[in-house]
C-alpha cells in the first residue's frame, strides 16, 4: 500500500467522525496550550530575572578585592612586613597570572586605586577649579567596554599614556571654584528635565595634575606643594563615561592608564621618601564567558585567599525559586496533556470497536497488517499533530494578549527605566513551537500504539460475522 493512500484513508476516517475528532483534537489543543503557555511564562520570568540581575551587576563578572586599601596609603614605616607566612596574599601581577589561568576566565581587569590625598588636580584658566576629593583609578582602558563601562562623550585614543585621562560621568562636579570660596555645584534636576552644568566642559579643558609633597604642611588654602615640574602633568580628557551606579568609578572617579598610574604611585612615594609601599591591585574584575563557570571561578579565587563576589549566588537562589514555580506549573500542564493522551487512546479504541468489521474486510481483501497498524498510528499521530499546531497558534495569541495586557498591569516590575522597553511576561521562541508540535505528535503516536496493536489483532473472520 502506498504511503499516500494510507494517509488518504486516515483522513477519510477522521473526517467521517468529525465531531469526535474535533473533541479529541480539542483535548490536545488544551494540553499543548497549557504546556506552551507555562513554558513561555517560565521563559519570560527567567528573562525578567536575568534582566534585573543584569541591572544589579554583570552576571559574567567576578570581582576580587585585594588586601590593599588604596595604593597610596603609607605602609607602616616601621616596615613590619605583613608578607610573612599567614599574611593575606597580595593581589599582584603574579596572582593575576594565576587567576587568568583558571578555567573559564577570559579577561581580567585590575584596578589600582590611588588615594586622592596624593595629588592636586585643577582645571580651568589659572587653575581656577580644584578637585576636592576625587578618586583616581589605574585601569587597562581597552577592557573597559567588556566590563560594561560605556562612553558618553569623546572617544578613547589608541594609547592613553600619560597624556589622556577618562572622566567619570560626574567627575567634573567634584571641582570647586577657588575664586568663590570653594563653591561647588551638584548635579541637580532643575525641574524642567535638564540638569545643572558643572563649571567646565571636561572635553574642552586641560586638566592639571600635580603630585603632592605631603611631608610639608599645606598652605592656608589647604594646598600642598608639588614636587616641581617633573611631578606635574597636563592632561586631556579623552572621554566621559556614561553613569552606571553599579560601578562607582564610572560616576565620581578619574581613570588613568595603568602604566601612568603606577608611575604616579612611584613618583609620590619617591617624593615623600616612602620605600616600603604596596603596589598590588585594589580590585580585579574577572570576566567569565560561561555563566556556569562563574561559581567555580569565584570559589577558586576565594581559595587563593581573596574576597570574591559575583551575582552567581544570588542568581542561583532566585533562579531556584523560579524553577520551583515552573515545575509546579509545568506539572499541571503535563497533567492536562496526559488527559489529552487518554482522550486520544479512548477515541482510537472506540473507533476500532466501530470499525471491527471494516478491519476484517480489509484483511480479507489482502491488506497487510503493517498497513493497518500504520493507518491507526497515523490517525492518532495526526490528532496529536493538528492539536499541537492549533495549540501553538492559540498559545501565540494568548502570549501576545498576556504581554499587551499584563505588561501594563505589572508595569513597575517589568519596565526598566533606561531602555524604556518592557521585558515580556511570556516568551515563545521558535524552538518551543517546534518542540510542542513534535511532542504532541509523539503523544498521539504513543496513545495510538496500543489501539493500533489491538486493531491488527482483529481476525479477518470479523468480516463475515453478522451482528
Amino acid at each position: 500500500m502506498k504511503f499516500f493512500d494510507i494517509i488518504g484513508m486516515c483522513f477519510k476516517n477522521l473526517w467521517r467522525r468529525k465531531l469526535r475528532t474535533l473533541l479529541t483534537v480539542l483535548g490536545v489543543v488544551i494540553g499543548s496550550c497549557a504546556i506552551i503557555v507555562m513554558i513561555s511564562l517560565g521563559l519570560g520570568s527567567n528573562a525578567a530575572l536575568e534582566y534585573s540581575l543584569k541591572q544589579m551587576g554583570d552576571l559574567n563578572v567576578v570581582t576580587v578585592y585585594g588586601n590593599n586599601n588604596g595604593g597610596g596609603v603609607v605602609v607602616d614605616a616601621s616596615g613590619s612586613s605583613k608578607n610573612a607566612s599567614g599574611a593575606p596574599p597580595k593581589l599582584d601581577d603574579a596572582a593575576l597570572e594565576t587567576i587568568k589561568a583558571l578555567d573559564g576566565v577570559e579577561v581580567v581587569f585590575p584596578k589600582l586605586r590611588l588615594d586622592s590625598n596624593m595629588f592636586s588636580i585643577y582645571a580651568g584658566k589659572n587653575n581656577r577649579y580644584k578637585a576636592q576629593w576625587i578618586e583616581i583609578y589605574g585601569v587597562f582602558p581597552e577592557e573597559l567596554e567588556k566590563f560594561g563601562y560605556k562612553i558618553d562623550q569623546g572617544q578613547l585614543p589608541a594609547e592613553m599614556g600619560n597624556k589622556y585621562i577618562i572622566f567619570g560621568s560626574q567627575a567634573a562636579y567634584q571641582f570647586a571654584d577657588t575664586k568663590r570660596k570653594n563653591r561647588m555645584v551638584w548635579k541637580e534636576d532643575k525641574g524642567d528635565g535638564t540638569f545643572t552644568e558643572p563649571f567646565f566642559k571636561p572635553l574642552e579643558e586641560t586638566i592639571f595634575l600635580a603630585v603632592n609633597n605631603t611631608k610639608k604642611d599645606p598652605d592656608s588654602n589647604g594646598n600642598y606643594q608639588s614636587g616641581g615640574r617633573s611631578y606635574e602633568h597636563k592632561l586631556k580628557v579623552a572621554a566621559v563615561l556614561k553613569e552606571d551606579y553599579n560601578k562607582y568609578e564610572s560616576v565620581n572617579a578619574i581613570m588613568l592608564d595603568m602604566g601612568f598610574a603606577k608611575q604616579l604611585l612611584a613618583d609620590y612615594n619617591r617624593l615623600n621618601g616612602i620605600k616600603n609601599y604596596d603596589t598590588s591591585y585594589t580590585e580585579v574584575a574577572i570576566w567569565v564567558k560561561d555563566l556556569n563557570k562563574v561559581g567555580s571561578v569565584q570559589d577558586a579565587v576565594t581559595e587563593m585567599g581573596f574576597q570574591a563576589y559575583s551575582m552567581d549566588s544570588i542568581r542561583d537562589q532566585l533562579q531556584g525559586q523560579v524553577v520551583k514555580q515552573q515545575m509546579l506549573l509545568g506539572g499541571l500542564a503535563a497533567i492536562s496533556l496526559f488527559v489529552a493522551a487518554i482522550g486520544i487512546t479512548n477515541t482510537m479504541i472506540m473507533s476500532i470497536y466501530e470499525r471491527t468489521k471494516e478491519i476484517g474486510v480489509m484483511k480479507v481483501l489482502g491488506c497487510f497488517i503493517s498497513n493497518i497498524r500504520q493507518m491507526f498510528l497515523i490517525e492518532a499521530g495526526f490528532i496529536g499533530f493538528i492539536g499541537g499546531v492549533i495549540g501553538s497558534i492559540i498559545s501565540i495569541i494568548i502570549s501576545i494578549v498576556l504581554n499587551a495586557v499584563g505588561g501594563g498591569a505589572i508595569g513597575v516590575d517589568m519596565y526598566f527605566g533606561d531602555t524604556g522597553k518592557s521585558v515580556p511576561i511570556s516568551i515563545i521562541p521558535f524552538w518551543l513551537i517546534l518542540l510542542a508540535i513534535a511532542f504532541s505528535t509523539l503523544i498521539g503516536l504513543v496513545s495510538g500504539f496500543s489501539p493500533a496493536n489491538r486493531a491488527v489483532k482483529i481476525s479477518a473472520l470479523e468480516a463475515i460475522k453478522n451482528e
Binding site: 500500500m1 473526517w15 481483501l365 489482502g366 491488506c367 497487510f368 479477518a460 468480516a463 453478522n466
Partner: protein
C-alpha cells in the same frame, strides 16, 4: 494437479468442555475455472469450510492446497500477499466500506497491492461499468440499493483478476429478480477469465448456476456431482439496452492493462 486440493480437513470448535465438530473429514479437489457450489442446510458447515478455504480460519486437521501452496501454514503476511494475488471475496452483507464511494470500494484491493491512484481508478471504473453501475461511481454504499451494493461487491472481488473468488450466500439478502441478475453477473465474470468460483448457499435454485454441486451434511460431503440442469448463458438484457456481455468486453480491455 487440481487447482484446489483439500485433504482430510477437519474443524472442531470447543465451547468449554463441549466439542462441536463443524467439519468432520473433507476431501475435495477443484479444477481451475470450475464454478463449484457448496450446498447444505443451516449448520451443515458450509461457511466453516469456505472460511478455511479462504484462509480466514485455521483447520484443526488436514491441509488445503491452492495452486500448490498450503494456506493453513502461511503467516499473516504471506496470507495477505496471497489474498492480494489470488483471491476475491463476495460477502452476504456486501461489506462495502461506508466512507468510500463505489469506485473507491472497488479499487481497494488494488490500493492494498500498491497500484497508483490513476491506474486503479481507471480499472475500477471499467469494472463498475461492467457490472452496470457506470452512473453510480461516486455514490456511497448507503446511497445504493442492496442489489447495487452487491454488484459493487462483485466488481471489487474481481477487480484484481484473482484466480479464485469465494462467495458466502452472496444473494442471501436479495429478492428473486435481483438474485438472478447477480448470479448471472458472477458466473459471466468467472467464465471470462476462467476463474474459479466457490459459492456457498442453502438454496437449490442458486446451485443451478454452478458446474458442480457439493452437498454437505453435518460436516461431511454427502454427494458431489456435476450440475445437469445448468442455467443457460444467453446474454441478459439490461435496462439501457447494453448487454452484460458487452460490458464484459469493455472490462476485458481495461483489465488487460493491469498485467500480472
Amino acid at each position: 494437479m487440481p487447482f484446489i486440493e483439500v485433504k482430510g480437513l477437519r474443524k472442531v470448535y470447543r465451547l468449554g468442555s463441549e466439542k462441536v465438530v463443524a467439519l468432520n473429514k473433507i476431501d475435495l479437489e477443484i479444477e481451475k475455472g470450475e464454478i463449484c457450489c457448496i450446498l447444505g442446510t443451516s449448520g451443515s458447515g458450509k461457511s466453516t469450510f469456505l472460511n478455511m478455504l479462504a484462509g480466514l480460519e485455521k483447520p484443526t486437521k488436514g491441509s488445503i492446497l491452492i495452486g500448490g501452496r498450503d494456506i493453513a501454514k502461511m503467516s499473516e503476511k504471506e496470507l495477505a500477499k496471497f489474498r492480494q494475488e489470488n483471491t476475491g471475496f463476495i460477502f452476504q452483507s456486501y461489506n462495502l466500506l461506508p466512507s468510500l464511494t463505489a469506485a473507491e470500494n472497488v479499487s481497494l484491493p488494488l490500493m492494498f497491492k500498491g497500484i497508483s491512484k490513476n491506474k486503479r481508478e481507471k480499472i475500477a471504473k471499467s469494472m463498475l461499468k461492467a457490472v452496470g453501475l457506470e452512473n453510480r461511481m461516486s455514490h456511497r454504499p448507503n446511497q445504493m440499493s442492496g442489489g447495487q451494493q452487491q454488484r459493487v461487491g462483485i466488481a471489487r472481488a474481481f477487480v484484481a483478476k484473482p484466480n479464485v473468488v469465494f462467495a458466502d450466500e452472496p444473494t442471501g439478502n436479495l429478492d428473486t429478480k435481483t438474485t438472478a441478475e447477480v448470479m448471472e453477473l458472477m458466473v459471466r465474470m468467472c467464465r471470462k477469465y476462467n476463474q474459479t468460483l466457490i459459492l456457498v448457499t442453502h438454496d437449490v435454485d442458486i446451485a443451478k448456476y454452478a458446474d458442480r454441486i457439493v452437498h454437505l451434511i453435518d460436516g461431511n460431503i454427502d454427494s458431489d456431482k456435476r450440475n445437469e440442469s445448468i442455467v443457460p448463458k444467453e446474454p441478459l438484457e439490461k435496462e439501457d439496452g447494453k448487454t452484460i456481455n458487452n460490458a464484459c468486453e469493455n472490462e476485458n480491455m481495461q483489465a488487460e492493462e493491469i498485467g500480472q
